[in-house]
């Protein structure tokens, strides 16, 4: 081991000292900075992942929209069935309608679906009733629309489609469709929760006079992350269709999440930077305190790069140990995140915000190795630089200046 490695280690952890205050406080400072950075990043990743999953499960992984109602849906389904990236295909039709129960009314965005289809969006977000009960006489409502209409599972609502309005204009007196609420869903997306009404495709075609036509199909893919690439490929040679990947459906929302994460990264990085600067200032004063020792080392023949190594290494080790401590703290905090949040909520009387606001059963998280790598590289870089600056200053001093103090 080079002498300056050994001496740097001894100066950082002096033998016989039970509490090397400088080293411990510095390492703790970096550790807390790294932990706060990674905890925020990991939870933000978790929220991002949960939201992405929710978008896919609420809207579908890839929605195929036709310029005009598709009459030959079987042909389209057959052509898509041969694509190996496509796992399932669900035809749908959709349109606005007026819903009413008693004196309460609301505008619904009705989607006609095949009730037996297991891969239907929103199927996993039922909060009351049973999605499997959906048939030609029943409807699944979003929670917001159900509240507007003051209905619960088992109640009946009336639904007027635009076709009925046409008939009324022609002097006919159409009767509204009476549908029983069989399930209520809550996805967390207001456009679904406040407006969605799902009925069977057969009933939709009847109410909208669509015949055998549909408005599009919803695809489930084997790799949802590749949806934009797959959608672009499948769209080739089909000018009347538009393949919309889930990333595009909620593009602004996803951009907002990503922007939020980037901003938080920079805010948290500043915390780490502040911790590193305090280490730099502590190391600087430590180097000044050791001016005489620097002079003696020079007198013994120490080269400037060895002096830079002596103090630079101390910064590097503080960074390395602080980063490791930060990783351990991150894992510990995130392992007990629900208990910690529960304590915070009970202290401030906020209730279970994660469940109430985000509809998540627990604080979501997603470990991204890249976040850990970036945090480690940045921290090591900054703490090493924090040690290097005073080291370069010390090494550049004339030995006689330092020795004059001897």
């Amino acid at each position: 081991m080079a002498w300056f490695f050994h001496l740097a280690l001894r100066q950082l952890f002096p033998p016989g000292k039970r509490f090397p205050a400088f080293a411990i406080v510095s390492i703790l400072g970096v550790g807390l900075g790294v932990a706060s950075l990674l905890v925020v990043q990991t939870v933000m990743n978790g929220f991002g992942e949960e939201h992405r999953l929710r978008i896919r499960e609420s809207f579908g992984e890839c929605v195929v929209i036709a310029n005009r109602p598709i009459s030959n849906v079987d042909e389209l389904v057959s052509s898509l069935n041969v694509e190996e990236e496509v796992l399932s295909i669900s035809p749908y039709a959709e349109g606005p309608a007026l819903t009413r129960r008693g004196s309460f009314a609301g505008v619904a965005f009705v989607r006609g679906i095949v009730p037996t289809d297991e891969d239907l969006p929103a199927r996993g977000y039922v909060i009351a009733g049973d999605f499997n009960d959906l048939d030609d006489g029943r409807v699944v409502l979003g929670i917001g629309l159900a509240r507007d209409l003051r209905v619960k599972v088992g109640d009946k609502i009336d639904l007027w489609s635009p076709v009925m309005v046409d008939q009324a204009e022609k002097g006919k007196a159409p009767l509204p469709a009476e549908l029983e609420v069989c399930a209520i869903v809550r996805t967390g997306f207001s456009e679904v929760d406040n407006r969605a009404a799902m009925i069977s495709l057969r009933r939709f075609r009847e109410l909208w006079s669509l015949g055998n036509k549909v408005h599009g199909v919803i695809l489930r893919l084997d790799d949802p992350n590749q949806a934009p690439v797959i959608a672009a490929r499948l769209n080739q040679g089909k000018p009347d269709l538009r393949f919309v990947p889930w990333q595009e459906i909620k593009k602004n929302f996803l951009e907002a999440i990503r922007f939020e994460k980037t901003m938080l990264f920079f805010l948290m990085f500043i915390i780490t930077l502040v911790a590193s600067f305090s280490i730099g200032s502590t190391l600087f004063s430590a180097v000044i305190r050791r001016t005489r020792e620097v002079g003696v080392l020079v007198a013994l023949g120490a080269k400037p790069w060895q002096l830079v190594g002596l103090f630079g290494l101390q910064g590097l080790w503080i960074g390395a140990l602080g980063t490791s401590l930060g990783f351990i703290l991150t894992w510990t905090i995130l392992s007990f995140r629900d208990s910690i949040l529960g304590t915070i909520n009970s202290l401030f009387g906020d209730g279970d915000m994660v469940a109430n606001v985000y509809q998540f059963s627990r604080v979501p998280l997603h470990y991204d190795p890249m976040d850990f790598l970036i945090a480690a590289v940045f921290t090591l870089l900054v703490t090493t630089l924090a040690g290097l600056v005073p080291a370069i200053w010390a090494a550049s001093r004339k030995p006689s200046e330092a020795m004059r103090d001897v």
């Binding site: 002498w3 001496l7 001894r10 100066q11 002096p14 033998p15 016989g16 005489r292 020792e293 002079g295 003696v296 080392l297 020079v298 007198a299 013994l300 023949g301 120490a302 060895q306 004339k398 030995p399 006689s400 020795m403 004059r404 001897v406």
Partner: protein
Amino acid sequence: MSEIVLQAKGLKKSFKSPAGSLAVLRSVDLEVRAGESLSIRGSSGSGKTTLLQLLGGLDIPDAGEVRLQLGSRSFVAPHRCLGQGVGFVFQNYQLMAELNAWENVALAAEIAGRGKSEKEAQELLTLVGLGHRIHHMPAQLSGGESQRVAIARALINQPAVILADEPTGNLDETTGQEIMKLLLEVVAQQQAALVLVTHSKEFAERTQRRLLLSGGVLSPA
């Protein structure tokens, strides 16, 4: 007559001060021969430490030159070969607080690129009478013991010259006497030359050659 190991010719050094340039060394010529001991006395501020720094290569003169014979090689300027050929003993010992006695001694050898030299360091500590305290930290050593460690450190690279700046300045009279006796003995034993800067006329008289630094020039005392 033995060969010259350290030579200074026409050394001049001045420092800037609020009152203008302060000439500390006006013209210093000095030759140090192998194995000899010489002392330099002078009042405070006469430039003794400055001269020692110039001789050891820790500073560069404004004019003149210092040359050190390094083994079989020709003369070189000491500031170009710090850690080789010259050993320092300082008034305040200047041991590394985080290293124990033998590590402090071995550090000089390591810096000079000679490896850890643990055995050699322990032998030198035994030579200076500290064989039983090689694992003690500087904080656990008395002033005299610390100076013994510093002497062992100065000797480990077998320098041709030992430059000692007030080595007894921080010690009581009895300990100072012991250290002075030891320094002269071990330096002679190692066949190194000794340049001793001291205030003490008594210690100076123990050296073979005695010089006085006054008014920026050296003269026989």
